[in-house]
């Protein structure tokens, strides 16, 4: 069951990672590996540091202890230029889409191409239209981000994330707040892009059904630790009460319904 951190098949290897915000430990000495060419999901309730983990992998945050290797390079020891070179091969889809709001859809997707390649405008146009076509939004090229629905914005952001043909994509809560149709489109796109482009995908999510449906391997985080990991079947059949509470969405269990407080009667009648 152990998805070995030292495996040659891992594109990302996280070793003994510890990270805190203030006095709260977000990660407490965790280690995990992300397999090349697979869809790996990082799951857990809100506030468990799933997005933080993506930012640590992308080198936007620094760990207190431990190391993160991406393509065998220690992310936090790279010089800025090397880190930027590494990021060109990493796409990231933010929860909000993070599209630049002062330029239209076309220019948003063209942005990384214009910044990082010496292609002429005609070539850029062809590539942008291909990427937008892949996400079904070629016809929306002239719209401004403010005119897009949440689902469309995420698809445009996905087109932008694959503009430079990265080898891996990190998805931050891609399914949150989506209507059923947008949700279905995103699930399909993520799976298809991963399989057809031979990408490695990391999905951070707390949407159980969708994530179990497309992930090859799952890590479940809780209180700074890995509460469980394995294939979707192994996770579904996990003996961990915590994992079962998370998967089934039970209101009470190892994660209590009530935030820690003094005795109720004492509190009311003191």
């Amino acid at each position: 069951m152990e998805n070995s951190v030292s495996s040659d098949k891992d594109i990302i290897s996280i070793q003994n990672l510890t990270f805190s915000r203030g006095h709260r430990k977000i990660f407490d000495n965790i280690s995990l590996g992300i397999r090349r060419g697979k869809v790996t999901a990082i799951m857990g309730p809100s506030g468990t540091g799933k997005t933080t983990l993506l930012k640590l992998i992308g080198g936007q945050l620094y760990p207190e202890q431990g190391q993160i290797f991406v393509r065998r390079q220690n992310v936090h020891q790279l010089k800025r230029a090397d880190l930027y070179n590494l990021r060109k091969r990493m796409g990231m889809l933010f929860q909000s889409g993070a599209l630049l709001t002062d330029i239209n859809v076309y220019d948003n997707v063209a942005l990384p191409l214009r910044e990082h390649t010496a292609l002429n405008e005609s070539m850029i146009r062809t590539l942008v239209l291909m990427k937008l076509h892949a996400v079904g939004l070629r016809g929306a090229r002239d719209l401004m981000p403010g005119e897009l629905s949440g689902g469309m914005a995420r698809r445009v952001a996905l087109a932008r994330a694959i503009a430079l043909d990265p080898t891996m994509i990190m998805y931050d809560e891609p399914f949150t707040g989506q209507d059923p149709i947008s949700l279905g489109v995103l699930v399909k796109l993520i799976k298809e892009l991963n399989d057809t482009l031979g990408l490695t995908s990391i999905i951070v999510s707390h949407d159980v059904e969708e994530t179990l449906g497309i992930a090859d391997y799952i890590y479940v985080l809780s209180e700074g630790k890995i509460a469980g990991h394995g294939t979707p079947e192994q996770i579904s059949n996990s003996g961990s009460e915590w994992v079962q509470q998370f998967l089934k969405g039970n209101a009470d269990g190892p994660v209590h319904f009530h935030y820690p407080a003094d005795d109720y009667n004492n509190d009311l009648f003191q």
Binding site: A98, T101, L111, E115
Partner: protein
């Protein structure tokens, strides 16, 4: 008592930390400017939103300030029978002081607050993080063009403010109060010194443009990425810019015109 010193120490330390961050931020901007120069489209777009869109408020304010100067100047100067020097008084007040200072205060309120809110919201909506993850340096792509646009726009807006103000003074002084038109302009031409008055005024507006753009962009970049954080940052931009403009104006005036 200990709490008081603890709070005091904490706020002093955090102020120094913020000062250090802002200086480092400025160095990054200055390095980033080199990448803006070969890409004039980035700059022209910002010149429009920072400079051209401030045009109206600067023109209207300059006109009214000039008219008030003409009115007040006439009443004081007429007591001494020196109405003919009204042009000198209006122009010198505008070019030396009111032009750079009031234009900078208006610029901080109009363009500075807009820059802070824009950058703060870009941070809150992860647009800056998104650029970082696309290996695009937001300082070079987003911040440096805005800084350069503010730096270029400010002296031009101050010059516009002073010019419109002189015309406002003339309309009131000559048109309404009967000061001789030839005296208004000729006294101004013969008394105002290009180096002493105009260049010094331009230097002031360049300094104010630098400071206001720096404060506005840093406050946005350093804002807590929430609605409240952006709101506080926008307020800080206007307040800190006003303090910086007025404080620096005193120092620059003392250096340029005083014998301190």
């Amino acid at each position: 008592m200990i709490d008081f010193f603890q709070t005091l120490g904490h706020s002093v330390l955090s102020s120094f930390a913020k000062l250090g961050r802002s200086c480092f931020f400025l160095l990054q901007i200055l390095a980033g400017i080199l990448t803006v120069i070969p890409r004039p489209r980035l700059l022209t777009k910002q010149l429009y939103s920072v400079g051209v869109l401030s045009f109206l408020i600067i023109c209207i304010s300059g006109f009214f300030v000039g008219m008030v100067l003409g009115l007040q100047g006439f009443y004081i100067l007429s007591d001494f029978g020196a109405e003919e020097t009204l042009g000198v008084m209006v122009a010198a007040s505008l070019v030396r002081e009111l032009g750079p200072v009031v234009a900078a205060l208006l610029f901080a309120g109009r363009a500075g607050s807009a820059l802070t809110a824009e950058i703060g919201l870009m941070k809150a909506t992860e647009q800056l993080s998104g650029m970082e993850m696309m290996a695009i340096d937001p300082i070079k792509r987003i911040i440096a063009p805005r800084f350069l646009a503010g730096f270029i726009s400010m002296p031009l807006l101050a010059a516009l403010f002073s010019s419109i103000g002189v015309i406002g003074g003339q309309i009131v002084g000559v048109g309404l109060l009967g000061v001789d038109d030839g005296a208004y302009w000729s006294q101004m031409q013969s008394t105002l010194d290009f180096q002493e008055d105009i260049i010094n005024g331009v230097i002031k507006s360049i300094v104010f443009g630098f400071i206001v753009s720096w404060i506005a962009l840093f406050e946005g970049y350093d804002a807590v990425p929430t609605s409240e954080g952006v709101s506080r940052a926008t307020t800080r931009t206007v307040v800190n810019s006003a303090f910086a403009i007025l404080g620096l104006d005193f120092i620059l005036t003392a250096l340029m015109f005083g014998d301190i």
